[in-house]
């Protein structure tokens, strides 16, 4: 590190830190949905990454359509794309829950396998429709370029946008879970399913909507993802394990824990990536989490749940 001046080193730290924020955003958006689903129903959705890819491909399609038919719309399509991605991924999630997952709630290990099968089918569907090559939508102009607070620091605008989007979505999820009557029902079901049923909550309906919501948020993650990288059929599976780690490390069903663990994992990985090779950064990050989880299996922050 002797080749750098202190200021350069600080700038690098700031920029790597910001790159970490982009990773943080995507991980958090993916993990939010997964954490809600895992916390409530105790099932892990292996196809969660593919729901993110659904959002990414939806954004790509909308960009393609607006570029071809509505050139004036290209500046604004991205906002629409976020909403459509949410709805479309949510709808698919609703269907998946109805057809597949609701039959398997009593067998969480089998759900792992079944959703893995679902992810294989979805990946091949992407490949058949969009081809094996990675695609990326053409971004509106206001997302290009960068913000330069000092001469040596260069922060891309798309990263800032994604970070902002993540904050908005996280806040919305917070409001929904902790301030709405529906959120109350979800939390009640998480804590004691049988009692919730007894007091008149339709737990099956809550399950289905929660699952759809989780997948919808993954769709938003996909839309956000297209601004920072290109999308291929296996993009989702690249992030899925990291997302699991975020959820498990943060402690299931704890919103604050999920945010904290997404932040620490993303920052650790992206700052280390500068000093050692990318693969070793990943190894050290994951290994640290696994070791911490072996010491503290319930994760960083956990609520007491009566099983």
């Amino acid at each position: 590190m002797g080749d750098y001046t202190t200021q350069e080193l600080l700038s690098i730290l700031a920029m790597q830190g910001f790159a970490g924020f982009s990773l943080f955003s995507v991980l958090l958006l993916m993990a939010l949905g997964l954490a809600i689903i895992f916390g409530q129903m105790g099932v892990i959705n292996m196809a969660h990454g593919e729901f993110m890819a659904v959002g990414a491909y939806t954004t790509y399609m909308l960009s393609f359509v607006s570029e071809k038919y509505f050139p004036g719309f290209i500046q604004y399509y991205f906002i629409v794309a976020i909403i459509v991605s949410f709805l479309f991924a949510g709808l698919l999630g609703y269907l998946a829950e109805f057809v597949l997952i609701r039959h398997l709630y009593k067998r969480p290990l089998d759900t792992l396998l079944a959703t893995w099968g679902l992810s294989l089918i979805m990946q091949q569907t992407f490949r058949s429709i969009f081809g094996a090559r990675e695609v990326s939508p053409s971004l509106p102009e206001w997302l290009l370029g960068s913000y330069q607070p000092t001469e040596t620091i260069d922060i891309p605008l798309n990263g800032l946008f994604v970070l902002g989007l993540t904050i908005v979505v996280t806040f919305a999820v917070y409001l929904l879970m902790y301030k709405s009557s529906w959120g109350l029902r979800v939390r009640a079901t998480t804590q004691n399913r049988i009692m919730s049923g007894a007091v008149g909550i339709n737990t099956k309906k809550v399950d289905r909507l929660t699952f759809a919501l989780g997948c919808g948020i993954a769709g938003i993650a996909g839309a956000a993802f297209t601004t920072i990288a290109s999308t291929g059929p296996t993009t989702g599976s690249l992030y899925i394990v990291d997302t699991f780690m975020v959820v498990v490390f943060g402690g299931a069903a704890s919103l604050f824990g999920t945010i904290a663990s997404a932040f620490s994992i993303a920052q650790a990985q992206s700052i280390m990536e500068f000093f050692i090779s990318g693969s070793m950064a990943k190894v050290f990050t994951l290994l640290t989490i696994v070791i911490i989880l072996m010491m503290r299996p319930e994760g960083l922050f956990s609520i007491k749940v009566r099983k």
Binding site: L104, R107, L109, D110, A114, K282
Partner: protein, 385 residues
Amino acid sequence: MNFVYERLLGGKNAALGIAILAALIFIILPIGLDLFRLNLVGKYLTYAFVAVSLVLLWGYGGILSLGQGVFFGLGGYCMAMFLKLEASDPESTKIQSTPGIPDFMDWNQLTDLPWFWEPFNSFGFTVLAVLLVPSLFALIIGYTMFKRRVGGVYFAIITQVIALILTVLIVGQQGYTGGINGITDLKTLHGWDIRDDSSKYILYFINAILLFGVIFLGRYILTSKFGRLLLAMRDKEDRVRFSGYDVSNFKIFIFCVSAMISAIGGAMFTLQVGFMSPSFVGIVPSIEMVIFAAVGGRMSLIGVVYGTLLVNFGKTIFSETLPELWLFLMGGLFIAVVMFFPNGLAGIWEKHGQKLLVCIRRMQCVGAVKTLLNKRSVKLEAAGE
């Protein structure tokens, strides 16, 4: 004799099943297939070791490990390291800048053999390492997890992450592990060429014998008192714990046994296929091995061998002809097995096949078949005229 019959073969029906499988593997396949295809079968049978280990761990123990590829890979890599050292003697590597070390180390500017490669010059050590390294690794993982009562989905996810970590590590540390290509160009075992035709036959039979040994071992474990406890733990863990048993020790033990069984498969894989690479360690191969076990029937030591063979033949056939369709089919297989056939092929056999056998035994069917055949021949004659 009674011990062999009751405990290892498992009574009349199970003994018949083993006999049929043995006939298939030792007689029918070697006679019916050419060497290339037989070598493929040999390769598939090494995956069957993992499937058998999953019957013990997952079917009976209720512990789903999504990282069995780790142990398969560790066993395979231990064997590959020994074979690679033998293949890189100073004579055949004299064009390298440092003769006497494996070629990929030379390409990565290593000038000395790393310390952890040194002991693999000895075959005895290698065999021990194949058996003990994966078991020790499983012991560490199992001890830290099961003692803290981590299980179920958490355990599955963490084993999956361990598979990912090991893959990334192997790919990243190219100079020490051969990187993404793995350890290739393996030639001889103590001067015995493992690549020519006769040795391929010999390795196939050694592999098959070992597989049956492992099946007998599995049967021995499952029919013992420990096997009953394992089942009890799967269904009502708390009750077993309250009865005074230390549940975590049993889980650690079965996890180590399953790691060792998988590792034997890995070592035989290296010997038969002639290389080892990270593509047999990671997340995808590990979960595929689970599906072999699920298709065959997670509760059946014999069924999983058929499951492994069937899924792999399917994979080979489809990737040759319709590669597009394979992932759809594989995905559908995962879903169908879980939703409709939780006990796999073995379950279907028990439900319908046994009835068929009984039916045939009672000769009721025979009569029916005879009349059916008569009718058909009458029809055929009519059609002929």
